[in-house]
Symmetry: C2
Amino acid sequence: MKNCIVAQSGGPTVAINASLAGVISGVMNSSEYDIVYGSLNGITGILNNRTLNLSEIFAEGKPMLDRLITTPAMYLGSCRYKLPTADADPAVYENIFRFFEEKEIAAFFYIGGNDSMDTVDKLSAYAEQIGSPVRIIGIPKTIDNDLCLTDHTPGFGSAAKYVASTFLEIAHDTYIYKIKSVTIVEVMGRDAGWLTAASALARNEYNAAPHLIYLPEYAFDLTQFLADVKDLLTKQDNIIVAVSEGIRDKDGKYISASSTAVDTFGHSQLSGAGKTLEYFLKEKLDVKVRSVELNVLQRCAAHIASKTDLEESFKLGETAVGLAAAGQTSVMLTMNRTSNNPYTIEYSSSPVCDIANKAKEVPRSFINEQGNDVTEDMIDYLRPLIQGELCISYENGLPCYLPIKHLLG
Amino acid sequence: MKNCIVAQSGGPTVAINASLAGVISGVMNSSEYDIVYGSLNGITGILNNRTLNLSEIFAEGKPMLDRLITTPAMYLGSCRYKLPTADADPAVYENIFRFFEEKEIAAFFYIGGNDSMDTVDKLSAYAEQIGSPVRIIGIPKTIDNDLCLTDHTPGFGSAAKYVASTFLEIAHDTYIYKIKSVTIVEVMGRDAGWLTAASALARNEYNAAPHLIYLPEYAFDLTQFLADVKDLLTKQDNIIVAVSEGIRDKDGKYISASSTAVDTFGHSQLSGAGKTLEYFLKEKLDVKVRSVELNVLQRCAAHIASKTDLEESFKLGETAVGLAAAGQTSVMLTMNRTSNNPYTIEYSSSPVCDIANKAKEVPRSFINEQGNDVTEDMIDYLRPLIQGELCISYENGLPCYLPIKHLLG
């Protein structure tokens, strides 16, 4: 027998279950592989022997896979476990590869972001070192869109669609009062401004909001910000501002009030760029000021997912199975844009060592000269990613997602 | 000629344009009335002569009205203008009724909440006093569901659907990590807990969240809250808590950190019940704690509106025109639930003086004994209100709403 195992890691997105569905479908249609197992809570499920037999669970095929595709977050759960180096803790690696042997695993698929690709990289190197034939393949996902060597990342398009729709709805909500006001909307993105930039897609024939957009890639200057807002207030009543949670000043210091805590991956824990700017403007201006933090909804609002995003994510999962069967290992799946209009994508792969622990920032040419907006190039890049809607089913007035009882044990 | 004028006031909802569409449709189909005007920014549009000819704008009928129905917030804009008493400022009333005479207005429809019904009440009394034949009719709307003498209010069902869906999506987002965590979600509702209670609709076969629900109608006790959370943490990993922005202690003091500002209607401006509890728990517990504020999205997320809500709101607008034509005045439209299963509603009206400046609180029987959850009676009451989805059209990846250029002049 030749089996596979798949796991999900990092922060949730709307599309990460679509890639899982792609892997399951790929194995079901493969002549190379038999059973596909799921490891619960990322790689830790392998370490703790907590797995599901996905071939059994999804035996009915398409109807259940379709429901998995539109279910937000991770069907298999996630983890924030940082794999130690093989030198520091060889026992961890021995346990993982013993599990692979016992379950006759021939391929391991890890769906995740930057930190998960670090795990793929380390496991690949170890497999090579011990001469294990197990293929180790990374499948990207992150709403941050900050993985290198891929045109964009699964999950980003849906988050971008949520952000753009929400800015449009906030514009409708804001324009109703004939008073001077500033609404600051904080969008996720610790180091990369891609998602904040997607707010620009809310602009249309009647809505020019967001009127200002600030990304972490361009040094934020409070004095210039105040000048930008004051200038706009002389021309119009309501101003809507998009700010990334990760905006920082020219010395790299976060604008957010509290940036002291450090998570297990060494990242600063942010909160409150929007709140900080709200309090700042309230002191300086005599107009209504409020801030809105989009928070977790931008990564889990499956009811407004991008069809393009979910279809691509599924395809990546399926393609990963094919690549493993063809003998590839130590790679992450990638997407290359071959044309913008009409939008076309080719699926490929790149060595995971060139991707792990690196981040793709917004290029300077996608930010305007003054650093308070994005350019048309950015909008042309973003627009295709939010296209299309998937019909999700409702039951009793609510979106009908796949039950996740197995995560609650 | 006999014309009408309609205006919208107070905070936005997803359904307030559906009632506007109902009024426009009602006038179009009426043999009694000719033109329907729209007053921009509530009653202030009449005072400043800023009106639209809605009969002209919506002359094409159904296709454009359908788009109006699914457009969030107020097509005509809103105001937070409190009408002075006729004794204090007779000129304001003289201006309004001079406008009515000049435009041959026979009926005025005001779509709004509690404060707007105060305006309807005052204008009705003045009309009677001066012997004016103009009918003054209130059409309810508020996501707070706190208007008296109506089973529920337009806009509430859609907000409730958004809140319930969001809690379900937050549950999917939360259960992925196998760590102890508390997620506090703050829901709108200054004095009434109806919308916070709607979070209970997110519960299903696999999801028991929210695990705790706190409404403003029951005195909030920090010590008991800590005990509730600690008790649950001994039984499960992830706890999701729903709190109303307006929770207060036994002395009526708001739990939120900042409750000092007072708006033009004399209400305390709240923010941060969720944040306050987050900081409190972080001090007391050694688990991950975060808070999420649903903020303006709960009142403007038209892309997940309740079909039941929008249909009822439209019907109320249409019915209002019929009632005015039949000679009614000084009333607010109401809905009476005649059966819960199957859910049926009758449309009626009540004297606006019995409704204005009063609030409908959640009854004690809808809150559990310990004050940390709602009862089955509450769930039975809420469930029908979130049923059904309206197909909204998308263009270029975004919901296609009706342009509101006229608000931006």
